[in-house]
């Protein structure tokens, strides 16, 4: 079996397992496992976003926690105002997920546009550092801005609502996250197969040659960066609703690191890499976290081993290498 078919089989298995396990948990009434699977799905959405910039475009953004946090605060602030019946900038709050998602996505896209336009003037280690700097700005801003809880964060007392679903039920919240994840994966696959994706990958592999073919690297990379931020922002809004809490910690630099770790564990640029990576990270935390309080030591060792010896990540390990650099 060639590696492309192997990868599709593996993708189907991962998608199936991520659905089957919480379904089983729903039947035997284990809400903790359903919530865990929901967390995996939402983290995977965030990482799918980053995978557009990092996997397809080769832009190592060390600041994607900024968009996760932005999305989270959109959900938190909207719910806060809806709960208290107050207005923000002349507008009422809302407890409906759809307008919250739209706002989170658009706002993240706008911020990513500004950050990307400035950051893409640099490259290499400078790009890593400037994206980190922008995320730190957001982190410290939310930390010291007192209006929405500052350091203490902002609780969402009642989970926001989605038409036709009862989002307070773990299983229905999971279905929602799963559906959004599948849509985002389809969007990623579509983007990768489109001319845009081809141009983006060409720029990653050889910017000079791509430019010689008439592709403008800056514009394409910027669009990819914006799309990337939008998807991660959407995940942030969902994550805040899942935990019913948003705090500056969502923008911490370690979160940006974890998003990269998810992609690397799963396999860079692979369609289902973020899903596999998120499942491995969360599974690791729950499994080893139950065994030893020092689970992060083991996570570090595993990550080190993956970076040093298994560069294709989980999917690369099982499905083989991509022949044309993905």
């Amino acid at each position: 079996m060639d590696s492309t078919r192997k990868e599709w089989l593996l993708n189907a298995l991962i998608a199936g397992a991520l659905f089957a396990v919480p379904l089983w948990a729903c039947v035997v009434n284990e809400p903790f496992i359903i919530t865990l699977a929901t967390r995996i799905a939402i983290l995977a959405i965030a990482a799918v976003g980053l995978n557009i910039a990092l996997g397809l475009g080769g832009m190592v953004s060390f600041g994607h926690a900024l968009y996760l946090g932005l999305g989270g605060y959109v959900a938190g602030i909207a719910a806060h105002h809806a709960f208290h019946g107050t207005e923000i900038l002349g507008l009422p709050g809302t407890n409906q997920m759809l307008p919250i998602w739209a706002l989170a996505t658009v706002l993240s896209g706008l911020v990513a546009g500004v950050v990307g336009a400035l950051s893409l003037r640099t490259s290499g280690i400078f790009f890593i550092m400037i994206t980190l700097a922008f995320a730190q700005m957001g982190f410290f801003f939310t930390l010291s801005w007192p209006a929405y809880g500052g350091e203490d964060g902002l609780p969402i007392f009642v989970r926001n609502q989605f038409p036709g679903l009862n989002t307070a039920r773990p299983w229905e919240m999971f279905l929602l996250a799963y559906a959004v994840l599948m849509l985002c994966l389809a969007a990623f696959a579509g983007l990768r197969a489109a001319r845009f994706g081809a141009a983006l990958m060409a720029i990653r592999q050889n910017p000079d040659r791509a430019a010689a073919l008439g592709i403008s690297p800056f514009g394409i990379k910027l669009v990819a960066f914006v799309l990337s931020g939008m998807i991660t922002g959407l995940a942030g809004a969902m994550m805040a609703d899942l935990t019913r809490f948003v705090s500056p910690a969502m923008m911490a630099w370690t979160v940006s690191g974890e998003l990269i770790v998810i992609i690397i564990l799963g396999g860079v640029g692979r369609l289902f890499g973020p899903v596999a990576g998120a499942a491995i990270l969360v599974g690791f935390e729950v499994f080893f976290g139950g065994l030893t309080e020092h689970w992060k030591l083991w996570l570090g060792l595993v990550l080190l081993a993956v970076v040093l010896f298994a560069r294709g990540g989980f999917i690369g390990l099982l499905a083989g290498r991509v022949r044309h650099g993905g």
Binding site: V60, L118, I128, M129, Q136, F141, L299, G300, L304, L308
Partner: protein, 305 residues
Amino acid sequence: MTLALVLEQLLNGVQFGLMLFLMSAGLTLVFGVMGLINLAHGSLYMIGAFLCAAVAAASGNFWLGLVAGIAAAAAAGALIEILVIRRLYARDHLDQVLATFALILILSEGVRMVFGPFPLYLNVPEALRGTVSLGIVEYSVYRLALIGFGLAVALGLWALIAKTRLGIRIRAGESDREMIAALGVNIRALYTIVFALGAGLAGLAGALVGAIQSVQVGMGEPVLILAFVVIVIGGIGSIRGAMVGALLVGVIDTMGRFLLPRFFATFMETSQAMGVGAALASMLIYLLMALVLIFRPKGLFPAHG
């Protein structure tokens, strides 16, 4: 707001900047010579602080602790260079970021396992307690000593790099790695020495700062990020840039936190001004870094032309 208060804050800024320089010097050397981005540099800072606190508590002597802290950080640096870092020189920045991120997890948990989850406390040495009068301001002797210490180490580092054979090799390594290897310099040993040197400086900074803060797991990461801001502003690979960047960051951060809330209070309600001022002050150095990168994408003192 008196002149004395401003002067005190300015001195605090300089002291903070010089400690940042100790951190940044190693980071920028390692990047300049080996082309490696090392997130685990903050862990070496932490190791220096923990060993200093533990040895100082056991022996009752701060200076013994300081030596132990530097030695432990340098030894840990040499060890991780040989075991891990060495395999990363030829890799791209993404792999380096990830592997050293993994090292942070390992070293932080390792320290937590050895020293337990609670912070350690390190007392300022007997001889440096109290305050000293500097004309219009009473200033902490220890902080003043930190300024002196930082300047002395900076001078020593300059002498090492400008005047010694090791320094010549380090500079040669920065400009052309292959060539100095071809000239018969043991490049692997040189890399280990440079890494251990940077680690020792980080350990020194950690031990010195440990006496005015609590010594705890995770203390290295905020400083690490500031050190990255410093070397990006200064120009990665440039020691002179690290010095200028460190003083800029130290003074701007300290003065921003001190002045901005007061500035906003002149035309806003006090509690609101405090919030806005503090929020803006905490973003100030990142704003500075973004501005520098936008107008000088390679930093103020680009190391490689």
